[in-house]
């Protein structure tokens, strides 16, 4: 997303719109080749990088990829596994062998029940979009406190900023622990005032994230007093 700012002129395309000849170029995400021409398949900003034409979508659904850090909510419990809602088209599966505890068969519910929130990582995604999650890894755990906020998936990169700079800035300003999941869920923990301030800031990313003057809007946060939240 951030490449858009330093790129050339941006063009908003709608599904079905012809976006140029396909000769010598590759179709990236949001673009298909049809009769020697590229056709946009999503509403978004056209982008050409490294000879690849793609569309940066304005709205998107989270598509899990292995290695992604996600904030999941337990949706179903079975004897030996959990199904997690990871804010995508498909639920993620967390088998007890990949949980951080020694779980007896049939005792999954003792550790996590429906509605519990966890920080997990995507272990693998197969061709049928079966998503396997893992909680074995540094920092992966059940989240017992704090708040979970949502940002649109396509704005996650903007919330982080280059090299996580903006995220670090937010952490410093808010005095909160903040974890950003690739799936658009943000976990925030701190005292009540700090959480309220962070909620305000993150809501601003959600509503203004697609705008050109986003950086200026975020800079205003510096002046936003915590008492105002």
């Amino acid at each position: 997303m951030s490449q858009g700012q330093d790129g050339a002129e941006q063009r908003l395309v709608t599904p079905g719109m012809a976006v140029g000849p396909s000769t010598g170029k590759r179709a990236g995400s949001g673009v298909i080749a049809q009769n020697d021409a590229f056709i946009a398949t999503r509403l978004g900003w056209l982008q050409e990088l490294n000879n690849t034409v793609s569309v940066n979508p304005i709205n998107a659904t989270y598509m899990p990829r292995s290695g992604d850090l996600v904030v999941g909510v337990v949706a179903e419990v079975r004897n030996n596994l959990w199904f997690l809602n990871i804010n995508g088209a498909f639920q993620g599966l967390l088998p007890m062998s990949l949980a951080p505890w020694k779980v007896e068969f049939g005792a999954a519910r003792m550790h996590m029940d429906v509605g519990d929130v966890v920080l997990a990582r995507v272990q693998e995604v197969d061709e049928c979009h079966n998503v396997v999650l893992t909680m074995k890894g540094v920092g992966l755990r059940k989240l017992n406190q704090g708040a979970v906020l949502n940002v649109p998936v396509q704005h996650v990169e903007r919330l982080r900023g280059p090299n996580n700079e903006r995220l670090q800035q937010l952490r410093d300003m808010s005095d909160c622990r903040i974890m950003v999941g690739e799936n658009g869920r943000v976990w925030v923990d701190g005292d009540n005032n700090a959480i309220a301030w962070s909620r305000n800031a993150i809501q601003r990313v959600a509503s203004e994230g697609h705008k050109t003057n986003f950086d200026a809007l975020m800079a205003e946060l510096n002046t936003m007093n915590k008492g105002d939240a």
């Binding site: 858009g4 908003l12 599904p15 079905g16 398949t41 999503r42 509403l43 982008q47 088209a89």
Partner: protein, 242 residues
């Protein structure tokens, strides 16, 4: 259709009762992103028709038995509000809304890249708030804008538009009187960029020549409506950049 041969639908000056030319559309407006709770939404007015569409998903398909292993299912619910016509409509599903939901789902399936989301479901809720003939076309147009607004990948947008026959004359975009007392109605769903047809129904009889003329009108109108749809989607994100 038919059976009301003595109702005058064309004026002596050759225009229609509401003053439109034979190949003239009713005024169309499109607005994208009208419902904050939905993943994508649109409101389309077409003459006196008003349709609001909300799109949710792709999401896990429940119950599991409706899941398809190789593609997403599109779950369309077309509903007319009880107050949408002069006679109150009994709320809930009926034979007509079931049929329209099905044909709309089939039409949308041919443009949405359903194979990208196996085992999931895309929910499309079409609510007709005011009806004045041609609601299935308005519903399809609005659903296409709402799907694009939700960021769902599609091969093309799809435009719903209808032509018909009144007093042995082919006309574009029937209004209520023309629909009730006319001789034929030909609603189609057109993919504006490729010119393909995703949906076609015919009520009444048309000769091959009349059919060709009706389709010519439909394609011309689809181009006009498509332009309005694209402008609506672009207008929503004015001032933005990736």
């Amino acid at each position: 259709m038919g059976g009301y041969g003595d109702v005058q639908l064309l004026r002596d000056d050759g225009k229609r009762l509401d003053g439109r030319a034979l190949d003239e559309l009713r005024p169309v407006t499109v607005e994208a992103g009208v419902l904050p709770a939905a993943d994508g939404s649109a409101r389309v007015t077409h003459g006196l028709n008003v349709a609001v569409v909300a799109v949710y998903g792709p999401m896990e398909a429940h119950p599991r038995k409706i899941q398809r292993q190789d593609r997403a299912v599109i779950d369309v619910r077309y509903n007319m509000a009880p107050f949408s016509t002069s006679d109150r409509i009994r709320p809930g599903f009926n034979r007509r809304s079931r049929e329209i939901s099905k044909v709309t789902a089939d039409a949308l399936e041919s443009v949405v890249l359903v194979e990208r989301f196996p085992r999931s479901k895309i929910r499309v809720e079409i609510e007709i708030l005011a009806a004045e003939a041609g609601t299935r076309c308005v519903g399809i147009t609005a659903a296409a804008v709402a799907l694009a607004d939700a960021g769902i990948p599609m091969r093309d947008l799809i435009v719903g538009v209808a032509s018909g026959k009144i007093e042995d004359t082919v006309v574009l975009d029937l209004d209520k009187a023309e629909d009730n007392y006319g001789q034929a109605d030909l609603p189609v769903g057109i993919l504006p960029n490729t010119g393909e047809i995703a949906f076609l129904q015919m009520d009444g009889d048309l000769s091959p020549e009349e059919f060709d003329l009706a389709m010519e009108y439909n394609f011309k109108a689809a181009g006009e409506i498509h332009q309005i749809m694209v402008e609506a989607l672009q207008r929503r994100y004015e001032g933005g950049e990736a």
